[in-house]
Symmetry: C2
Subunit: 268 residues, 2 copies
């Protein structure tokens, strides 16, 4: 692991690091915020389409709240990058758009092992480098990262004590943001769709979702069918539709305190 | 005035607008945060080298605290921009580096009227468009914007009830960040140097300054001579050297709450 930068931030350190990943066959860059007084609890923040590790760590405003709660926050990248890694002209496919699945189809299968990256390679690096408690992990994310948070929580039972999401893509196999992309990456898109996973019986940890009523991408999120699925499965969840908010980081920052508090409570 | 964007943010609105400015002879873009419950008080936030109106409104994390305090925050651009506006290859000269002075020297004099822009044209537009209280204004800024905040407060007595700054350039006429630039823009750099203005008897409103002890640009800030000037003039001021912090927005965000609270107290 190599340190790219470390900045003092709310009494702790906002770092950026690179490490080699087997899952992607590339070097990967990630951000990690260490509070001054870490409790050992870890919050994973998965970002959305076009983002790198950097967007949320500069714009989501999580660190101040994480510092108060003693949470360590990890900001993974959204895909492998660089020479030799396939890409697509579309912003929602290829680099910057890994959708947190392990691609099995060509040309993506060689590098786009993002589920393994986020759930195996990166945790291995992080837990080796810092003194953190693997039994106290939460996961959150925005948009495509909300899809990642929900599906990884559903697919890795027991791993995360809590899951939350900002404007998540909840039903990607029926969305312009997910249908074609998942079909290009993998054979069974439904197996990486939070609505399908939940209705098929996967266990969801306590869950908090905020989505803006003026989200300009509302039609791509599938909030309605996921809301129905949460109710049908009687899941422990809060889905809050926030009046007038859109899909931007201004929305994420506005509710960052609530999400950090939610995770801190469950990771205490 | 034309609306470029408006996003719901912490219960209020983060807007971006353009308007024609006589002082610059161009259209200018600015950000403005309106809290849900405005008290009428206004905080001006001046940005640093290379920044536009956008950097602070996305990365400084002021809005949540401004929302609580009912402060309206204005984020001006740092220079005129666009075709016909002169520029320089250096990042610290020309577009993105107006230094908040009214240039009188060629080729800058035609467009670089940044002091008039920030103290006349933009206030006129803002106070016409929104119901705000001209008697309750505070000013803050980062780096070159800290220089702007301090010098404009010193040069416009009675206008601002409080002034604060994050890692300000305090003595530009003796700094790599200011000496050559001010000499290129104007005839009397000392007349736009906070240290000189203060020692020459200008009145400083109550003042809060935070600067990081690990600021990578420490040598360009002149914090030591300004500290001495504050003490010599027995000014009502707090200068806090924050251990381990650098010059980044991670530093600014870490102390945003304190600066908003400081202004809110003086603008109550």
């Amino acid at each position: 692991m190599k340190t790219i930068s470390e900045n003092r931030c709310f009494g702790g350190i906002q770092g950026v690091y690179t490490h080699a990943s087997e899952a992607t066959g590339t070097d990967m860059t990630f951000g990690l915020f260490r509070p001054e007084h870490p409790t050992g609890a870890v919050l994973w923040y998965l970002s959305g389409l076009t983002c790198t590790h950097e967007n949320a760590m500069t714009k989501a405003g999580l660190q101040g709240w994480a510092a108060e709660a003693g949470l360590t926050v990890v900001f993974p990248d959204t895909s492998p990058r660089g020479g030799g890694v396939p890409d697509d002209d579309a912003f929602d496919m290829g680099q910057g758009a890994g959708f947190y699945v392990d691609a099995t189809r060509e040309p993506w299968s060689k590098h786009f092992g993002m589920e393994r990256y986020v759930t195996a390679d990166l945790p291995e690096t992080v837990f080796a480098a810092w003194d953190l408690d693997e039994t106290r992990q939460g996961i959150t994310g925005h948009s495509m990262g909300g899809h990642g948070a929900l599906t990884l929580a559903l697919k890795h039972p027991g791993r995360f004590r809590a899951v939350s999401a900002f404007a998540p893509i909840c039903h990607p196999s029926a969305s312009e943001w997910g249908r074609d992309q998942l079909a290009a990456y993998i054979d069974q898109p439904e197996a990486h769709d939070a609505t399908h996973l939940l209705l098929d019986g996967a266990a969801l940890p306590p869950c908090l979702i905020d989505t803006g009523t003026d989200d300009q991408f509302w039609d791509k999120l599938g909030t309605d069918v996921f809301a129905r699925a949460l109710a049908r499965t009687r899941s422990e969840a809060a889905l809050r539709l926030q009046k007038g908010y859109d899909h931007s980081y201004f929305f994420v920052a506005s509710f960052a305190a609530a999400h950090v508090a939610f995770h801190a409570e469950h990771l205490a």
